[in-house]
């Protein structure tokens, strides 16, 4: 056992996956020699060699497109996109090809690859380094989209994503990359490669990050720790116990966990960093209204980023959902 950050937990997962299966290869800009700008892939070049850990030319369509070709030939590529915004040149490859390869081959040749995207704000990054593009991918049939929040989830979900035959967009909240440590075991969390489909379980279930029965707050990734803080404040200030649901899987959504939380609490709030319109919050809200309206005491409210370009960092705190904004949103639902 050792205390690990999310970066270290992801690094452990990549070591474990590459150790277990020599079809796993890593591609990306600066992933080999430097171990990635966030060091998620540190040490892998030394351990597995330059054929399997590759510093590529700087071209995201080329990287993702090559990875698709590799997957067709039976490798299991894990691609690192250096920063959220840099995925856009590769978007076409993801939408037209990666997402449709299974469909276009009678299910025989899915594009089995993982595309890792460090995303979101809060790290005082330069302009165009802080987007939250997850809803763009959620809207593309054929993709799975996931986002871990804890080091253990990051490790387990990375192993599952590599096992999963479908293309997985793996959103890594860079704000919590090193925000905290927890015990992450050196042992594998589940058996790899035995065909038991465990990856489906790991990649489709939400988790309750804080128990409570008065208000459901549904969120994921970078806003989970802030939401927990807001829940603590609500408990102190007005004795309200909020249940915080960490979605983990953005597609498919864990509809049962979402509806169960909303029904039990009768009031629900959705929180995310991405812009509001047609974001995950809209989907979660729609699911709750469609399935649990008779249990609701108030409409579902969203606390999100705004429908504006992500600002330069002097203004990013104005844009990002904060503990204050989440608490205010919660009060609005509670006082409806």
């Amino acid at each position: 056992m050792s205390q690990r950050t999310m970066v270290e937990a992801l690094n452990l997962a990549l070591h474990q996956a590459m150790e277990h299966d020599d079809r796993v290869v890593l591609l990306g800009e600066d992933v080999a020699k430097t171990g990635g700008v966030f060091r998620v892939t540190a040490g892998l070049l030394d351990r597995f060699g330059e054929e399997r850990v590759v510093d590529t030319p700087l071209a995201e369509a080329g990287i993702i497109g090559s990875a698709i070709g590799m997957a067709v030939y039976g490798l299991l590529p894990v691609v690192e996109i250096q920063f959220d915004v840099f995925v856009y040149p590769g978007f076409e490859q993801i939408v037209t090809h990666a997402a449709r390869y299974a469909w276009r081959t009678k299910g025989e040749v899915p594009a089995s690859l993982v595309i890792r995207i460090p995303f979101g704000g809060g790290v005082r990054a330069p302009e165009l380094h802080s987007d939250s593009p997850e809803a763009l991918f959620v809207h593309v049939p054929g993709l799975k989209v996931v986002c871990p929040t804890t080091p253990n989830d990051a490790r387990d979900m990375m192993l599952a994503a590599i096992e999963d035959p479908d293309p997985v967009i793996f959103m890594e909240p860079k704000r919590i990359y090193r925000a905290g440590r927890e015990e992450v075991s050196d042992e594998l969390p589940f058996a790899l490669g035995n065909g038991d489909g465990r990856y489906n379980e790991v990649l489709s279930k939400a988790r309750v990050a804080r128990e409570g029965d008065d208000l459901a707050i549904i969120t994921y990734g970078p806003t989970v720790p802030l939401t927990i803080q807001a829940a603590e404040r609500l408990a102190q200030e007005r004795g309200v116990q909020a249940r915080v649901v960490d979605l983990r899987s953005l597609y498919p959504l864990d509809v049962d966990a979402i509806v169960e939380a909303a029904s039990t609490c009768g009031r629900a709030l959705v929180v995310h960093e991405a812009p509001r319109t047609a974001g995950l919050g809209a989907e979660v809200s729609a699911l709750i209204h469609e399935r649990a309206i008779l249990d609701l005491e108030a409409p579902v409210i969203r606390v999100t980023g705004y429908d504006v370009p992500f600002p330069q960092f002097a203004n990013e705190d104005d844009y990002l959902p904060s503990v204050d904004r989440i608490t205010a949103g919660a009060n609005k639902v509670l006082d409806f």
């Binding site: 080329g62 497109g65 090559s66 590529p77 037209t96 299974a102 469909w103 081959t105 299910g107």
Partner: protein
């Protein structure tokens, strides 16, 4: 760079060169058979579209040499990545012609798609140039696995304007993948002529930017296409990386059945290239060499006609796919819950028994390409 490799003459002013090493008489006749099969498929598909029996179709009439010649140079284990212009290339690798026709008929699922691993033929790429990085990645993967598999991908002159062309060329060169970039320069991208597509005089010279050896060949000459591809594959397998082949030709017909070239070009220009078209030219060459008799030629044509006719029959015997195919094979890991909801919703909806193609257009160009039949 502007020199063009040509082996087969036109029986008149252009003399024949010798048969390249490595091709027996049997190979030459087999290659002719391939050309005829492709031609027959294409002409039949255009006719089917005109009759309202398949949907819009992208034809390749006149480009058979770039397909059959290049494919004939490949090992059976090599992978090929076609664009829609090489839509039927799979039939030379065991993909049923009925499957390709079914795709144009608007059928998906098990009817319109195939397993690429079974034939080493990737799915037809519809967007432009986006399959090029796949060909690179595949050969790259083979290299990682220490296997000698090479990849070949076809694309048009217009595709060289796309970023994916440049990214793929650069990746292949840097990673030294055994990839053949086979550009069919037919000088037209729908209505856009080559001089509006690029400022370079040739496509081959673009290879220099990536340190990729390039060659220009007569794209109507199957043996020139074969020889250039063969040499490119040998370089690739020797570890010397990718090659670029520019097959210079002319788009003799429309871009597709919905296109009317009279709107943007002087069709007499196509007439000036017509005598170079590959099927008649290869037949003339084989007859001049005494390798194929008129009877053999006739029997090859008859056999192709029969085989495509059977494929048409097979395609037309396919029943309208059920609504459940919408939700099949989208995910290899299983069906997400939203699919069950979708299917349940559809079950209560009335549905027409058969969705037919819209049939031929009634505009100015209607019927033009159908005359090739």
């Amino acid at each position: 760079m502007s020199e063009i490799l040509r082996i087969i003459g036109d029986g008149k002013e252009i003399p024949d060169a010798g048969v390249p090493d490595g091709l027996s008489d049997k190979d030459l006749v087999e290659m002719y058979r391939w050309l005829v099969l492709l031609r027959t498929f294409d002409e039949r598909a255009v006719a089917l579209q005109r009759q309202g029996r398949i949907g819009t179709y992208a034809l390749y009439w006149g480009e058979e040499a770039t397909q059959a010649g290049a494919l004939y140079a490949c090992a059976a284990t090599d992978w090929v990545f076609p664009s829609y212009r090489q839509n039927s290339i799979g039939i030379l690798r065991g993909v049923p012609a009925a499957t390709v026709l079914a795709w144009w008929r608007g059928f998906g699922g098990v009817h319109g798609f195939w397993n690429p691993r079974e034939h080493r033929v990737a799915p037809i790429c519809v967007p432009i140039a986006t399959h090029l990085p796949h060909a690179v990645g595949l050969a790259w993967a083979a290299k990682i696995k220490h296997e000698s598999t090479a990849s070949l991908t076809w694309f048009g002159d217009g595709a060289t304007s796309e970023g994916d062309f440049h990214e793929a060329m650069n990746f292949a060169a840097v990673m030294k993948t055994a990839t053949v970039f086979f550009c069919v320069n037919n000088q037209w991208a729908i209505s856009t002529p080559i001089h509006k597509q690029m400022a370079t005089a040739t496509i081959a010279e673009k290879g220099a930017a990536y340190a990729i050896p390039a060659i220009r060949v007569d794209g109507f000459d199957p043996l020139a296409c074969w020889k250039a591809t063969k040499e490119a594959l040998e370089r690739g397998r020797a570890g010397d990386g990718p090659s670029l082949v520019e097959a210079y030709c002319y788009r003799l017909k429309a871009h597709g059945t919905a296109d009317d070239p009279r709107l943007y070009r002087d069709e007499s220009e196509a007439g000036r290239w017509m005598h170079l078209e590959p099927v008649g030219r290869m037949a003339g060459f084989l007859k001049r060499l005494g390798i194929m008799t008129a009877e053999e030629e006739e029997s090859i044509r008859a056999e192709a006609k029969e085989s495509i006719a059977a494929a048409v029959k097979e395609m037309e015997s396919i029943e309208q796919p059920g609504r459940e195919i919408l939700f099949e094979h989208v995910y290899a890991s299983g069906r997400p819950w939203t699919f069950d909801e979708g299917l349940a919703e559809l079950e209560g909806v009335e549905r027409p028994p058969e969705v037919k193609p819209l049939g031929p257009p009634t505009g100015a160009g209607a019927g033009e390409e159908g005359k090739t039949q």
